[in-house]
Symmetry: C2
Subunit: 211 residues, 2 copies
DNA sequence: GTCTATATTAAGATAGAC
DNA sequence: GTCTATCTTAATATAGAC
């Protein structure tokens, strides 16, 4: 049971607090309180709060880019697609604070803006590859403007689904679940698929059914 | 040219600044500076900053509910649908600051949460009525779970489209345009429509084309 | 109804001892 | 590497004169 480094404990606890309370509501004092360390100690490990946010964003950026590095010639099954989406939602939800107060975060940490845009781009390109794969397998029509709008819609949805879902929720349910996101994205794809694949995905979506 | 009341000028200017800079970045001092009045004067008209935010939310809530009060038995054409969506996006964009830092705003003004959820509900119900109308005209299939997922998707999209659109934008373009939102929503509907209506909406979408 | 001056509070951050 | 004590800054809000 090696002792976890204070620096890493700060990152873990900050992330948890940011997600739970919203980044603007989390002070450096609260973070150090939660860890039972002094504020001075926190500032020994990080020169500023923005360094913490920046490092967490770097982690997110790294994880999401790994996930979205999809080979161009992939032949993806609907099952694999569900698995991929599950991972994607899970990752985004783990860093959900970034999307909860986006304008505020970008205005206070403007250095993150290019990174945010790159991630948006990666997501859209990743979806493009996946749609191309479905099209190549003859499962989906190939009208480029339709596919482009669909990929934008997929990108928007993975970014904001969790925010939307938890807003609807009375704040009571409290149980975050990436499965609802996968269900929703499946229903974005269903009407674009041919009859047989459409039916297959519809049934697969039941496994991700809310409630 | 009747003189506009200070109270109303405060609301108008606050809304503009909130949308431009993000609500958390707009101090009461900045608002009063912008209006060339003293901070004390501002606090004569509003007991607190949250009163300003609350009143603006009330305006938004009122406008959006008026718009979403769609008669149950409406028979809507695709043209009319486009017009409706244009108004809807325009209204939401006029109060876009509310969705830009949602978690932060809800945590600082928790009294707004029920209203937010009611609006979400109105939107989804409004879309349900519109989809029912299309279904009744034989333009769209009627599978209830499909329609429900679609209405959720429409609701998510009208709420977050502008946020998404301006994030992608280098922040350079700067030209807010509800038409891009309408285009996007049309492309959510297109694959659900029968061949003829689908084609019609696809062509209609050209009028709302980006670029 | 509007002003100036100021009280209050709380955040981010640093200095210096241990 | 960690602590306590403190500085600095800035925002919300109030008091009292005009």
């Amino acid at each position: 049971m090696a002792k976890v480094k204070t620096r890493d404990r700060i990152l873990t606890t900050s992330l948890a607090l940011f997600n739970e309370l919203g980044e603007p509501n989390v002070t450096t004092l609260l973070i150090s309180d939660e860890l039972n360390i002094s504020p001075g100690n926190l500032y020994y490990h990080f020169r500023s709060k923005s360094d913490i946010v920046g490092e967490l964003f770097g982690q997110y950026s790294h994880e999401i880019n790994d996930l979205l590095a999809i080979p161009k010639d992939v032949e993806v099954s609907l099952d694999q697609l569900g698995f991929f989406l599950h991972l994607l939602f899970e990752t985004i939800e783990r860093y959900r604070f970034l999307y909860h107060d986006l304008v505020n975060i970008l205005s206070r940490y403007p250095e993150l803006r290019p990174g945010f845009r790159r991630i948006l781009d990666s997501k859209q390109k990743g979806f493009q590859i996946l749609c191309d794969s479905l099209a190549n397998q003859g499962l989906m029509a190939t009208e480029p403007t339709i596919i482009k709008a669909l990929c934008e819609q997929l990108t928007l949805t993975v970014c904001y689904w969790e925010s939307f879902d938890s807003l609807r929720d009375a704040g009571n349910r409290n149980n975050l679940d990436p499965r609802r996101g996968v269900y929703q994205v499946f229903h974005l794809l269903i009407p674009h698929l041919g009859a047989s694949a459409s039916r297959e995905l519809y049934l697969l979506a039941q496994d991700y059914q809310p409630d």
